[in-house]
Amino acid sequence: MVVFKKPDSLTNAELSFCPGCTHGIITRLVAEAIDELGIQGTTIGVAPVGCSVMAYNFFDVDMAQAAHGRAPAVATGIKRSDPNNIVFTYQGDGDLAAIGTAETVHAAARGENITVIFVNNAIYGMTGGQMAPTSLPGMVTQTSPYGRDTEKVGLPVKVCELLSNVDGATYLERVAVNSVPNINKAKKAIYKAFKNQVEGKGFSLVEVLSTCPTNWGLPPAKALEWLGENMIPYYPLGVYKDKYAGEEAAK
């Protein structure tokens, strides 16, 4: 009996992520959610620019590759073309919270019935470790070599908190993938974000705190610890908005 297998919604392509990076876990969680909802045949994904730029090779569904930051707009077009399809974006912090802030906020404001998976590892990974909109105060990166100086470059953008003030958003949750219990919670959140779309409930975004051992300069296990000790206190986990929470509780 098979007790553990590769999700159908993943291809056999080798993941291009660095060893120890938690992108692989998140990619798998997305595929599991697609499998469990039985929506592989109707799902269309949008890959961003960044470490997951080649997501179109990993998911066994129709995929589009978008320009940097534009995934929510491309997803809007795909969804509006055929609302029966399930459309998701998979975006990093530079993509979603810097160059694509407008597209993110307005897709949420429209209540666009799409699912956004937002991977926050507080750094630009693909380009070699530059300061991200979500880099922590004092964090050393290639473009903040003396640590993020909040006097000069300001404070990190907290996406879930920001979007929780956008009336159009349906569901916002921040999770992390630094431990098994947290991965299980992340799985539930991602599943819910897709299920919401299937049920026509509107814009769902799951922010996943993730590691970047390569650019953080830490061994993978230490990176997981660093995430728990530094990122979670700054970016508290939990549900930031759930428009239908009361309704579901009543059932």
């Binding site: 129709d62 589009a64 590759q65 534009r70 809007t76 077009g77 509006r80």
Partner: protein, 353 residues
């Protein structure tokens, strides 16, 4: 002949797009083309279509990319500064080999410029919007009727060659009212098995992508695209010749400038000047051969433009600088007067001898 209706240029574009099967429009307000969006906002909900006012020109063109990726006919429209913002998306449309129609009702520039008619986006449209090696079909209407026929044609060519068509109009034709026939015939259907429609778990995933990290692969995609472009240059050139049979002087003009020029040619003929007009209808592919042929018998050329002289480069290249080319131009929203054009023609006669 079908019945004619009186329509404004911009609205004619919108109705022609609907007739061509376009059911998705994304845009952002900008003068002088907002009538297109307003028309779509009224019409689309009534025909089960989608009108969406995007948060920016950038978002609008990316929404266009999304619909185009699903294989459906889609368009956006804007005016000069807005097209600059769309340039990123225009490059991605090319890199992803996606069909779409983009309308530019030009206004004066650079920068915020003005809101009066212009043709100063000729370079941008034909050569320079977006990074990378790519071409775009550029159609230049000179009447409200051509707003209709070239919109229809633009969608067809976009599907046929899997690329972007641009309708390069100007504020004058956009705002003008003329009687038009909307009878454009049948819409040709093209194979779109590449489209993102969901695999239904029945086929391998389709991928719409412009990223090729292996240089050999990226080079190959460029080569294949340029093979298609060569076919377009061979088969899709459109232009109008007016009184060119015995012409000794040739005016070259498109859009509103061609209408002023035609009137001047009629007047010049009365004065005994044998002058004709070549009006490019496709700005890319440019009617190079027709111009080169004209260079054999014409003594001089006059390029009439609402720019500081952009198309004149292509005229000189096409005729390989065999004959002098004069520029007759106004900019900033000004239009060359018949007297301006007549003076230029008379100057050409002096120079050409």
């Amino acid at each position: 002949m079908s019945e004619k209706v009186l329509m404004k240029g911009n609205e004619a574009i919108a109705e022609a797009a609907i007739m061509a099967g376009c059911r998705h429009y994304f845009g952002y307000p900008i003068t002088p083309q907002t009538e297109i969006a307003a028309y779509m906002a009224k019409r689309m909900p009534k025909i089960d279509g989608v009108f969406l006012q995007a948060e920016s020109e950038i978002a609008a063109i990316n929404m266009v990319i999304g619909v185009a990726a699903t294989g459906k006919r889609v368009m956006t429209s804007s005016s000069s500064p807005g097209i600059s913002l769309k340039s990123e998306g225009l490059s991605y449309l090319a890199g992803c080999d996606l069909p779409a129609l983009v309308v530019n009702v030009q206004r004066g520039g650079p920068g915020l410029g003005g809101i009066q008619p212009s043709q100063s986006d000729y370079w941008q449209a034909t050569k320079a919007s977006g990074h990378g090696d790519f071409r775009r079909i550029v159609l230049a209407p000179a009447s409200v009727q051509e707003m209709v026929s070239l919109t229809f044609k633009g969608f067809d060519l976009a599907d046929k060659y899997r690329m972007t068509s641009m309708l390069l109009a100007d504020g004058t034709i956009g705002q003008m009212m003329e009687p038009v026939s909307l009878d454009m015939g049948e819409v040709t259907q093209y194979d779109k098995s590449w489209a993102l429609t969901g695999t239904g778990r029945q086929r391998k995933p389709n991928i719409v992508n412009s990223l090729f990290l292996k240089p050999e692969e990226l080079e190959q995609t460029n080569f294949e695209r340029y093979d298609r472009y060569a076919q377009i240059e061979k088969n899709e050139v459109m232009y109008e010749e007016y009184m060119m049979d015995d012409a000794e002087y040739c005016v070259v003009a498109f859009g509103i400038a061609s209408r002023v020029s035609k009137n001047v040619i009629n007047e010049a003929r009365k004065k005994g000047i044998k002058v004709g007009l070549i009006r490019p209808i496709t700005l890319w592919p440019f009617p190079k051969d027709a111009l080169l042929k004209a260079a054999d018998k014409c003594k001089a050329f006059v390029s009439v433009e609402l720019s500081m002289g952009q198309m004149i480069d292509d005229i000189e290249l096409s005729i390989r600088c065999k004959k002098p080319v004069l520029l007759c131009n106004r900019v900033g929203g000004m239009i060359p007067t018949p007297q301006d054009v007549m003076n230029a023609v008379e100057e050409a006669v002096k120079i050409g001898g």
